[in-house]
Symmetry: none
Subunit: 409 residues, 2 copies
Amino acid sequence: MKLLFIVMDGLGDRPIPELGGQTPLEYAKTPNMDKLASLGMNGLLHVIAPGVTPGSDTAHLALFGVDPYEYYTGRGPFEAAGIGLVVKEGDIAFRTNFATINTEGLIEDRRAGRIKEGTDQLAKLFEGMTIDGIEILLEAGTEHRAALILRGPGLSDQISENDPHVEGKEPLDFKPLDDTPEAEKTARVLTTFVMKARTMLGNAELNKKREEEGLFPANYLLIRGAGKVPKLPNFEEEYCLETACVAGGGLYKGVGRMLGMHIIEDPRMSGGTTTDLVAKFDIAQDALKNYDFVFTHVKGTDNYSHDGKFKEKVEFIERVDKEVSRFLPENYEGDLVVMITGDHSSPCSFKDHSADPVPVLIYSPDCRRDKVEKFGERYAVEGCLGHIIGKYLMGIALNEMRLVHKFGA
Amino acid sequence: MKLLFIVMDGLGDRPIPELGGQTPLEYAKTPNMDKLASLGMNGLLHVIAPGVTPGSDTAHLALFGVDPYEYYTGRGPFEAAGIGLVVKEGDIAFRTNFATINTEGLIEDRRAGRIKEGTDQLAKLFEGMTIDGIEILLEAGTEHRAALILRGPGLSDQISENDPHVEGKEPLDFKPLDDTPEAEKTARVLTTFVMKARTMLGNAELNKKREEEGLFPANYLLIRGAGKVPKLPNFEEEYCLETACVAGGGLYKGVGRMLGMHIIEDPRMSGGTTTDLVAKFDIAQDALKNYDFVFTHVKGTDNYSHDGKFKEKVEFIERVDKEVSRFLPENYEGDLVVMITGDHSSPCSFKDHSADPVPVLIYSPDCRRDKVEKFGERYAVEGCLGHIIGKYLMGIALNEMRLVHKFGA
């Protein structure tokens, strides 16, 4: 028995007057997901806890059965892992932007003009760098994004960021957030690093060329999201599950990698609304041949929610639904559990995450089918799963796979 | 977006044969709450946890999102705060009765004949008193009620009471409830204080006059409900919410005050069945102009429950419903979330609190309206909120106010 777990980011929503008081998911024509809902079990998922608005990182930990209250230390480690850095327990990891600072010391562009190419060369400048015995690992991601790791003894993640979050201002000072010598040392190492980086980046050929071309040089590093890399449970070791992660966004790959999933990379998965959904689900279907558990993440639903574009959210859901067709029992050969949900609600009226629960459906060949016939927020109210706390979801799914982990004897 | 939170004390009940097998709430004609129920979200609230019967104090902590298992230390601190004492973290607070002791040392009346006037003068006798470096703060409340605080180093709340709870007996000795020197010291200070108080009160002019008039003198103090004042979250600091407390009962004002609410005092709110409900809801409506969050507590439902008076409970609920009319979306100008529930069930057949869940309704302009059409225990079963644990309620309400407190990024 294999498990396909489809997460539509920011799926849950609220009634929208222009959709006749329906949510985008309720309004969308989703015959395939409705079929699975009618054959399966339905419920409402409180990904962290009722009334708690999840971040994307904490939400995904919970979806994979990892209690974020116990394990979450900040976004940095997941972003770093997502970009491809091999993070180690105890590393201090940060989200980083290549940015532009002017001669007056003011941040002119927080994203160095959304620089497209060359940041990997810039990151290479720092290869082998150490400051006071601390290894500096900088890895470029897409566009202006990068991840930074400080590795070595006596460090802390209780450290403020230097990103002023607006342009035209000076970068902020790194400050220790507690009284420990570890936080003090981390602040000092970061400050020294950013100062050296400014000089090194300023002198880089690439940036001189960008300036000549009238482009923003990537001559500064804005660093935020400090987190000490936690020791997370490992899917393969804990559940004996060979697991694949099919996602475009760095964060989701990062969470997957830290949980011991095999990350499938493919440039057709953009991690946004432009992603090639057909390719993504081809990859997922293919992965089901080799893996027990395939996590498939689509981000577009959340992107449209943040822009308040409910019509586009409806269409995107309908496009995902088309790809779900191939996993219906009549179309799929083999025993398959299909679980579909979101990592949180993102009502188009909020343009942000909310604490509203997300509908969840779990189909398995002999599950306790309930009377719900459609996949949607308010249909799910009548489902047999009731209200579920996120961290319990994975156990429920594993049970459908007949992977019994008995507590007690 | 503002929040009106109406708590009807002891609202939940059980089927009553004389009401055709309906509960008082189900039986009552409540067109306005039914309207909000039909436009809003409904569910059943386990204020502490399923199967746990809440006290009034623990219930209100939970309703405000404060886990009573973590924060509750006894009723004393809340009573003291309700009476108006400014409690400080670490104080040991007690509920206190002015009582009557006779010359043989037996308690003749536990409430000094429900003394109406003069206890504030009596309490003043102790102004500035210290015993072995411990400050003694005694504040009179309504009738025979008072609150006592011991303030100073080396104290404990692990201390028994001196109230025998029946008349004609000697007061009990204060005993330490654990082996610590703190509990020992607290017992000693209390014993000394009560001994001195007996003399001072016995000599008070007021009591001599009462004796001449054949009234019970308030010549003794019965002390119970020891609790060390905890550090509670503060609504204004935690949520940036300016909050008003509209309540008559001391306990509810005390909880509100300790959570940083602004307490609105008005003698028309009696904290009982005689309260002026029109005035109370006028005050609440007015408070919504100046505050983000208005907590409005009505006590009468619980008082009638304790007396088993289900008809009066029905009528009282109907009177509250009339006042709710002004907060219906068609009658209220402005964006308003309305949340209505009870702090616990008090079935008229029990004449006491019970662990039965309480119905809860939450209305907000764009909430995920469910199919429930009436406000009542058994209608709520079909609501989209399902079964909620009390400590999560506030997060759910804040989410309706669009106050997003994201956990993670």
